[in-house]
Amino acid sequence: MAGHSTVAVAYAGNNPFLRGVAAISTVAGWCSAAMIVIAVAITCQMIFVRFVLNASTVWQTEAVIYLVIAATLVGLPYVQRLRGHVNVDLFPLSLGKRSRYFLACLTLSTSSLIVAVMLYYGFEYWHIAWARGWTSDTVWGVRLWIPYLSIPVGFGLLLLQLVADLFAVLAGLEKPFGLEDS
């Protein structure tokens, strides 16, 4: 009953739009995984510098935090494509075919709407940081527009994947909620 399947992936088929979005989301997933790996490496380097060399660690903590945040945001569309965002499909399961279809359209469009809101204000926030030259209040002093860029990028790509999912349901290419008719 739970929508936490380990096998399902968003349908792409031969549809060029769906295939294009799937490709973009997959590349985003590679970037996300790469950032997590780099975070592991930097953390190990930091422990070595501090514990073995007994030297200062100035930038590592911050770099790792921003990498994990960026990995999360940029990874959103890929995980959406892999149907990895856990959900509870209690209502869809109890509905008939037609109402299930309408509910799928409703949840996907509401999801797209909220993600669009996050994208809009996220872009605004990024733009303020960029225009005012905000930095972090540490010795390293990262220009904050760099990590903040992951907000509009991540939500923008997630929006794209959600719109593709909505399109696939509307065009009848994918079953609502990925559920078989019963």
């Binding site: 994990v68 890929y78 995980v79 965002h85 959900n87 209502f91 949840t107 999801s111």
Partner: protein, 438 residues
């Protein structure tokens, strides 16, 4: 509007939205945005991305993907099978050696993985077919692994403990230690039940399993020692002054990846990518919920709902154990439907002041909460571990898995009672290792 009534409205709306099949994180964002817009003015939406980003801006969160990689890289090898085989060869004189070994392997694997479904999958892949082949009842084979897998979040490291530690500003090292003894106790209860139910099923002959020569016992050790070394190394790094829990996690992840590559020849880029892909998928899913739940709790606080509920509970003059029972009932119901991380993030900010006011130890409560969440993992309608088992052994019906798991729920309830009677089970180890609580 009265904040308490508003809180009720939020609760009902959240349930309706989350049951609609929308992903949990996005559902939380939808509810938050809706209530902020309605009761806090339109400008409050401007803050949402900022709060979302801010919730993730925390070094301790690094440990979540790290502990997931640790588990995933080991799970991608046949290490799980090696673990229970080694245990079985050494425990051969114990009746029911195989199921006992499988549960022991779950506990050992739990000490390397922060997540429950991963533990379940790692041991179950080989363990369930083997148990069935040797004649154990399907229900016992499936149920014991489903339950054993839940130890993944009780025995350290634990993703849910990390999330609880962050949400309540409790020492993560202390929380980890608190889970050790209850985890072993739960393992013991699971073993006892598995043996009893196998014996009762009339199939008692399977309990006396094969015998092994000393050569066989020793030849498997080299395959297991690296993992024991990792567990000890991680413990040393964390409590011996080398690194904080999140830093330790990174070293553990690196070591586990290296061991998987060197000992289990996990060289091909394709196989490595599967490990990374699965880890990324689970980490991003959890971190998305964490950030979205941050926006959700901002909404609750901003509308004064959190504060009003804490005040209201404070005015109720109830016995603290009645309160604890009510809290556990509430958590149990939430855990039936929602993943542990979401429950902890939504409930912790509201529950913690109540817990402290009623003079319960937040570290002890973390253990009770975790066992409570474990129940949700093996109970319908949303039991992640049940679906993992279903994926491993598709020919065992979901009903058999479910009825096989149900008695283990009883073991967990019993464990919660024992923890209430003897709180030292959770608090003794952290107090001994790290000094009296602050």
């Amino acid at each position: 509007m009265d904040p308490l009534f508003l809180g009720l409205l939020v609760a009902v709306t959240t349930i309706l939205v989350l049951f609609s099949g929308v992903s949990v994180a996005i559902g939380l964002l939808i509810v938050s945005a809706g209530f902020l817009l309605a009761f806090d003015g339109s400008r409050s939406l401007e803050l949402m991305p900022e709060i979302f980003f801010g919730k993730l801006d925390n070094f301790a969160l690094l440990s979540i993907p790290m502990f997931i990689i640790m588990g995933a890289s080991i799970a991608s090898t046949r290490a799980g099978a090696d673990l229970y085989e080694a245990l079985e060869r050494w425990l051969t004189r114990i009746p029911g050696g195989l199921v006992v070994s499988n549960l022991g392997a779950c506990a050992l694997f739990a000490a390397m993985s922060g997540s429950s479904p991963a533990t379940c999958a790692a041991i179950g892949k080989m363990g369930i077919p083997e148990m069935r082949k040797r004649g154990y009842p399907d229900g016992v084979a499936a149920g014991s692994i489903a339950a054993g897998g839940t130890l993944g979040i009780l025995i350290p490291p634990s993703v849910t403990m990390i999330v609880y530690g962050i949400a309540t500003e409790t020492s993560i090292g202390r929380l980890f230690l608190a889970g050790v003894i209850p985890g072993l106790m739960l393992m013991g209860l699971f073993m006892t039940w598995s043996l009893y139910s196998t014996w009762r099923s009339g199939n008692a002959s399977v309990l006396s399993a094969g015998s092994y020569s000393w050569k066989q016992r020793f030849e498997i050790l080299p395959r297991v020692l690296p993992f024991l070394a990792i567990i000890l190394g991680v413990l040393y790094a964390m409590y011996g002054g080398v690194a904080t829990p999140s830093e330790t996690a990174a070293v553990g992840a690196l070591l586990c990846l290296l061991i998987a590559m060197i000992i289990y020849k996990l060289w091909s880029p394709g196989a490595l990518w599967v490990v990374l892909r699965d880890s990324t998928k689970e980490s991003v899913m959890i971190l998305f919920i964490i950030a979205a739940a941050g926006v959700f709790s901002y909404m609750l606080s901003s509308l004064f709902i959190t504060q009003a509920i804490a005040e209201w509970i404070g005015t109720l003059d109830v016995n603290r154990w009645v309160l604890m029972a009510a809290i556990n009932g509430f958590l149990l119901i939430a855990g039936f439907f929602l993943p542990p991380v979401a429950v902890i993030l939504m409930a912790a900010p509201i529950l913690l002041p109540i817990i402290i006011a009623a003079d319960f130890d937040p570290v002890w409560f973390a253990v009770v909460l975790t066992i409570n969440m474990e129940i949700g993992l093996i109970s319908p309608p949303v039991g992640l571990n049940l679906y993992v088992i279903n994926g491993i052994a598709p020919d065992i019906s979901l009903k058999t898995i479910l009825t096989g798991s149900l008695p283990f729920v009883g073991c967990m309830v019993l464990a919660i009672f024992l923890l209430c009677l003897f709180p030292d089970l959770a608090t003794w180890l952290p107090d001994t290792v790290m000094g009296a609580p602050r």
